[in-house]
Symmetry: C2
Subunit: 146 residues, 2 copies
Amino acid sequence: MRKRSPKEAGETHALLREAGLRVTDPRVAVVEHLLGQTAPVSHADLCRSLESAGFDRATLYRNLMDLAQVGIVTRTDLGDHVWRFEMKRREGNHVVSHPHFVCSDCGTVSCLPDVAVRIVRGKHAPRSLATKNVAIQITALCDACA
Amino acid sequence: MRKRSPKEAGETHALLREAGLRVTDPRVAVVEHLLGQTAPVSHADLCRSLESAGFDRATLYRNLMDLAQVGIVTRTDLGDHVWRFEMKRREGNHVVSHPHFVCSDCGTVSCLPDVAVRIVRGKHAPRSLATKNVAIQITALCDACA
DNA sequence: TGCACTAATGAGATTGAGTTGCAATAAGGA
DNA sequence: TCCTTATTGCAACTCAATCTCATTAGTGCA
């Protein structure tokens, strides 16, 4: 795993404490691992990545759930029936979200840049689509499989 | 369950035979049930709806999978970790798809009319987004929960 | 029509991700 | 440093999804 700088360690510590969570080895490892990812990871992925550190499946699972509960990470199913977790990124004061893309052939999951797609709200669309709290998920062929 | 007209029965029969599947009671029941739905149904939903007919869970399950395999139905997970199945609707020669909407609060799943949202392909978006084979799924608050 | 072939069914068994119970441990406030 | 209680690690459990296999029943063909 990526070596963490003292600054990062301090930030993770503060993040957890602000959320009312104790700072434990497994928890820090989970947060820092998620911070190093560019796509959502599943519980199984996380276990694989951190198994060398000897953390228990259930511990990692509960940490993911705890982090999701306090709003540090999101927990979503991207259409392939696997729960995936991802750090919520912030810019200034509000959470920035981005569309998720799943390849219908190889199953690869990736995060699209915010600008990649735009939703145009038409007739009969729910009103909330006008707000920012909209999760968009797209399934199609990725460039590699096309 | 909805009574089926002889015409419908004939269409279901033809649909299955064209796909190379035998026409059996459970299979016909599954197809006709799906045809009568306006939103994707889960395996559990289907079992509940058809249990009075005495069909086995495994039979219904395999039928859903078979139908999905031959392309008569789609099988997707709408973000709530439940597999849902839905008839592919055709207009003339090609499959018409529509975006799915899941309420992030109450979990209700609904199909949006095709015109409700439009994807605008921007920078860094996979090329295949320009084609028709794109499944779109949106999670936000429904009008009732907003 | 009747027959043979094989897909499909039904009942039960199995799998595995997701989740929980509990005693032991350790974080953090006093 | 001590005390409280959140957290851990292990094992066990749950339940949907999936498979096994003997039996049944659609279909094509004679």
